[in-house]
Amino acid sequence: MSIFKLNSDKQITLQAIGQKSREYKLRPKNNSIWKKFRIPMSRRHLLKWRTSYNKKSLIKERRLEDKRPLWWFISLISFAVSIPWLSNFALSAVAIFCIYASINLLWSLTLGTAGIFSLATMAVVGVSGYIAATANVYFGVPWPLMFVIGTIAGLIFGGFLALPSSRLDGLYYALLTLGLAEICRVFISQIHALTPTNGSINNVSSFIPEDWYLQRPGLLLGAASSFILLLLALLIYRLVNGETLGRKLQVARDDEEFAEAIGINYHSARLKVFLISCAGLGFIGAFYAMYFRSISLGVFSLDQLMLLFAMIVIGGTGRAEGAVFGTAIVILIDRGLFELGPMRIVIIAIVMILVTTYASNGITGIREQFRNFRHRFQTQKRSLITTKGGEIMPEEAIDIHNKQIIYSRRFNSRLRNYLKTLINDEVIAEHKANPVGKHSYELTRLLNYFRKAEVPDKYAVAQIGPLKDSQYKIFAFTGDPEKAPRVVDERVYSSKNEAYHAIFLLRVNDLLES
């Protein structure tokens, strides 16, 4: 690899292992401080570059730690660029995708960030849409003000919805709010003024001029403005989820008592996020009424709510890409397979069942789930290794900081296994004939291994009796400096070489037993 070229003249070829080497890295030439662009009014940078030093070459390199902004940028730009080339049918699908994706983004703020399991989303959208449309049609409010009215209506309605949320938790609140849309539907359907139109308010004025409606320019304008709506929803998601409120609630999600102890008022943060989300949904409600130039009871239908919920579930809750991606998949099935008729709803439901059965957090969570699975699989595989052979077992290995110890143990065990194959009658006979002197390769390897061993494994020869005609005995070292070597057995050898050979046999025996 080229990194070594920079440091020395020596060229070492390293094998690229894994995916890290393929990652794009910046290599700054000098040590000057990098003046990165900061987003105005905040201390944030556009991209999360992190500087580190390569552990082997000690060269400074900069790595892009979070690539998601790039993916968002690329996909949103290509989406925006492709809008003018789409057919009329696709344009309306794009607009519906953008509106639903915005609803889902704000909804996942409530579900994921605030952790309030509210199913009243479409009720908020519908009620504020109806109020904005009423203001326009019956009170002659101009259309730009409909956005304001819708937002305020959403905020007030959200305030009412928030009342029981502090008392009820989780599924209880979900079940309570589930019925709300149906109640709104029944209530509005029984208003006498709306009976002739079957509960819908028509002829709402809009940002799309009346003679452009359902024409090419009108559809283009609708798609473009809903794209801007999607961008706004993404911005709100980012501002709420990624800034103070989101961070506070993230702490509260992990540990409520801890959050309270360090002074985070997560109740009020939760309420704020919920209200922001409801106000945003009110804005979308007004947009919805304007885009279709009418609003009907269909907005409150339970199927509609379930379809939206299916989008979030398929994409994955608690993340922006999940909300948008899930919406894209469901809209693609719903509009792309239009000729299938009601079958496509069945396909969506089957996708939903499959995703809930097999994916723990939607399609965008699959990557993480696969990594967890691989990690678990590898750990299981490692724990199945039962042969020890002097090596360190994987579960012990994590406690040993110096990994060199693990590898030296493994090397020694493999060395012993190899040396065991060298022992045969010929080698023993060779040693018996000539314990000291030049030996064959096999015997040299064995003797070198024996010499290298630590003291407790070794034996000593002791001379007994007078210098002439002395006899020899074998002792074993204890390894403890305070304890004298112990006698191995009572056998006495007449010559030094005989004793050497006896020790050799003992060591061979030890080796074979290890």
Binding site: L163, P164, D169, L171, G179, E182, F187, M343, I350
Partner: protein
Amino acid sequence: MDLNLIIYALNLAAIYSLMAIGISLLWSSVGMINMAHGATFVVSGYSTFIASGWLVPILKASLAGTAFYTPVLVFSLTSVALLSGAIFGAIIYLIAFLPLHDKPNFAIRSLIATLAINIVTVQFLLWSFGPRQKALPKLFGFGRIDFLDFSIRYDQAATIIGTLLLVGFMLLWFKNSRIGLEIRAMMQNPEGAALSGISIRRRALPVMMLTGSLAGMAAILLSQTSFFSPTAGALPLIKGLTIALLGGLGSVAGAMLGALIIGILEVITGEISFLGQRYVLLIQFVFIVIVLIIRPRGLGGLLDETRK
């Protein structure tokens, strides 16, 4: 106030309590919210509709005019409704419980899976029967019983008595059978039940079938007074859910009390001239919200232990 309104309220309460008890039981014993309860309701309604198409001509040919005609018809169609509800409950068990019950986040995942089953079923029924409303035959005939100051329609009387009988049998079965004992143990303490060798995996099936047949009973009783369409399950589901919440999930007595209160409230709201039918749902909802704000675990918390 007319005394017959009490009968009307009881009639509504009977049907609501059948839905609410089903939802409540399933949540407390298995820990899942069955969003396909509305689908079960509609499926049993339609299977009764099909069965009545076959049975009514046969019975008319053989038993018309005799005293056996009405009892045989009522018995056969009710058992069709109960059976189809139970079978659909078993299908929900296979799709939404078995593959999911040992996975994390079971409550929410099963809610989503049952939602999907609901969507599929409604679409399937719309596809095969069309969106037009159907009327089931009047099982109990047309007539009134005059009793003291009350004047009770046959179907009202049958609804109230039938519900009381079914719930009574259910409670007796809970009290006296081995499976009932195990289900009660699961309701009180799922972990304790599992530790004492009760398999939730195995016991969920009878619970699902039982709650399914309760929905089937509700379907056949409600269809005596109103029409039937593939999307007719939504309102009973929502009413059942909210009443189950009001009663405190997991409490049979709470669900019955809640249904009674909601039934009376519905009748009273309908009678007050400046409110009328339009405000029925809204007032019920506001009432439930107020009760839940005061008592987050519903009325059942007063009566017995509920699942957290």
